[in-house]
């Protein structure tokens, strides 16, 4: 091959590779355009204020009402329960693995825990509905067969490794000088961990927590299987609720003709979901960058 053809080939290869990288922008643009297009069509029929602040969600009934608050409350309730499990447990595991556990324990436990994050979510749904719910019904009086509590807890287990691994990374990247300083002042390991190391890693840990929150809000199959499909404005974890994601699944399973208002609701709900997870991811990234700057 002559030098000239070589140069042309190199140029073509570089452009092709660039095209592949730039294609990722098209994906984002595609998501936003599809969601915007259908949501705009939806909002021509339903005023934005009713969608955002209405308290009854019955788009599939004869008497149609389009208030998304019940879906939002269902999503928040299930995610809050998940976070109530994942934050304390994840932090304790992170502190234990980074400050106390012997190297050998850490090296075995961490990958095994991360298996939890690799289990398909439909499997967790099965686990929540047919194992955790019956178990909880023996303890919690009045717990319905479909409820927010059981999928919430299982979702907490699913995002646990996310919280523990990312927090552990943040804690480990706190410079050792800080620990040694605390020891030199006579602090015990616990005092050092809780009052020096964890506060120093605070923004890194918060980034992990916010990311986990975004994951919980967007999680679909666990809640679609075990939380029921009754949009209900409540904070009672014992009764059936419906999340934004579960609603999208419910409509997709049915035979809703394209172009109808019911069909457009899933894009409007999807838009709401996309915006909320996007904001959470943004906050998480911002916290992570701040943490990196502190210990760069």
């Amino acid at each position: 091959m002559t030098l000239r053809t070589r140069r042309v080939a190199e140029f073509i290869i570089e452009r092709t590779l660039f095209g592949c990288a730039a294609a990722s922008i098209l994906v984002t643009a595609g998501i936003i355009l599809v969601l915007l297009w259908e949501t705009a069509a939806f909002l021509r029929d339903v005023p934005l204020s009713e969608f955002l602040f209405g308290t009854v969600w019955t788009p599939l009934f004869y008497d149609k009402q389009f208030g998304a608050l019940p879906l939002v409350s269902g999503t928040l309730l299930a995610s809050a329960i998940a976070m109530a499990v994942a934050i304390p447990a994840g932090l304790l595991i992170a502190i234990y693995l980074s400050e106390y556990a012997p190297q050998s324990v850490r090296r075995t436990v961490r990958p095994v825990l991360e298996v939890l994050a690799g289990v398909p979510t439909v499997v967790y749904g099965y686990f929540a509905l047919l194992f955790v719910t019956p178990l909880l019904q023996a303890i919690v009086p009045g717990l319905a067969g479909f409820n927010a509590l059981s999928p919430g807890i299982v979702m907490g287990i699913m995002i646990l490794p996310l919280v523990s691994s990312l927090s552990e990374d943040a804690i480990r990247s706190v410079p050792n000088g800080l620990r040694e300083g605390a020891y030199a002042l006579g602090a015990t390991r616990m005092q050092t961990a809780l009052r020096v190391v964890v506060p120093a890693a605070f923004s890194g840990i918060s980034a992990a927590i916010v990311l986990a929150m975004s994951r919980a809000v967007g999680e679909t199959m666990i809640v679609a299987i075990a939380a029921g499909q009754q949009p209900r404005l409540t904070l009672d974890p014992r009764v059936p609720v419906e999340t934004m994601t579960a609603y999208i699944v419910q409509v997709s399973l049915g035979d809703t003709p394209t172009g109808t208002l019911e069909y457009r609701t899933i894009f409007a709900v999807g838009m709401l979901l996309f915006v909320s997870t996007f904001l959470l991811n943004l906050v998480s990234n911002w916290l992570r960058d701040r943490f990196r700057e502190e210990y760069a």
Binding site: A89, F127, L253, G270
Partner: protein, 287 residues
């Protein structure tokens, strides 16, 4: 003389925190164990040759996962065929070529954002774009394209990480011998980064195998009594079949779901184990 509280904290605090940490860690492992035990107990009895080679049925004891299994294999192969070349090329550009310009920076931010988008949103994109606008219908192709977009950011991020780990001296040595940029990437950097790239690919694809929500959203069927024959066929996948069985009230269908889960988890286990073996082989050869 320090107060009682301080003395208590000094004496027992460490032990308390360490035992609590150990306890919670064990609890998390127990949860994983319970999940596997529960599924195995419910499902192993149902697992049989008949179950693997039958189509779905209204009678739970006649039902099987042949269509779902074939659909999963077909969809994931096509997903890999779309996502791997695209993702690896994008990663090579960003890591090896990408001038640190504004556009590259934008692409980078964009990819890390895409990695955080919930999978069901990709389903809505697939429904709007592939199924409707591009007219692919509820086909294997539409499903694979959707999953490919979902896997893309994960593949790009992990491939970049693997490329970054290749020492600079390798590239410089190659340039010094007169190799062009692409020759360097193709003959030196990529082979050296292969074990890492490979692990990332397996991770991304095994996540795609387990995905349910985006495929339900694009309208993949829940009752498919045939094996998909070409990329335009309607299809179902194993997770959707499991979901369909879980949502039925009869206990016998729950058993089918558990057996399906055993197959799904077993499949994922084999794929991951295979990946580890292949990676180690590769590492030895290029060490």
């Amino acid at each position: 003389m320090p107060g009682l509280w301080t003395r208590l904290v000094r004496t027992f605090g460490d032990r308390l925190l360490a035992s609590f940490g150990l306890l919670v860690t064990l609890l998390a492992l127990v949860a994983l164990g319970a999940l596997i035990y529960d599924v195995a107990r419910d499902g192993l009895g149902r697992l049989s040759w008949q179950f693997l080679t039958s189509y779905p049925s209204r009678r739970p004891e006649d039902a099987g996962i042949l269509a779902a299994l074939a659909g999963s294999l077909f969809v994931i192969s096509l997903t890999a065929a779309i996502a791997i070349p695209l993702g690896v090329s994008a990663a090579i550009y960003l890591e090896e070529y990408g001038a640190r310009g504004r556009l590259s920076r934008l692409i980078e931010v964009n990819i890390s954002n895409l990695a955080g988008v919930p999978s069901i949103i990709y389903g809505l994109l697939g429904l709007g774009l592939f199924v409707r606008i591009m007219g692919m219908g509820r086909s294997v192709l539409a499903g694979s394209a959707t999953l490919a977009l979902l896997a893309l950011p994960v593949i790009i991020l992990s491939t970049r990480e693997a490329l970054r780990a290749v020492p600079k001296s390798l590239r410089e040595g190659s340039y010094a011998l007169g190799a062009t940029k692409w020759q360097t990437v193709w003959h030196q950097v990529l082979p050296a980064a292969m074990p890492g790239v490979f692990t990332g690919l397996i991770l991304a694809l095994s996540r795609a195998i387990g995905e349910t929500a985006p495929l339900i959203t694009i309208g993949a069927l829940t009752y498919v009594p045939f094996v998909p024959t070409d990329i335009w066929s309607p299809f179902t996948v194993l997770p959707i079949q499991i979901f369909n069985w879980v949502s039925r009230p009869q206990a016998a269908f729950a058993e089918n779901a558990a057996a399906g889960i055993v197959v799904l988890l077993g499949f994922l286990l084999v794929v991951n184990a295979l990946a580890i073996v292949l990676r180690d082989r590769f590492q030895q050869r290029h060490a």
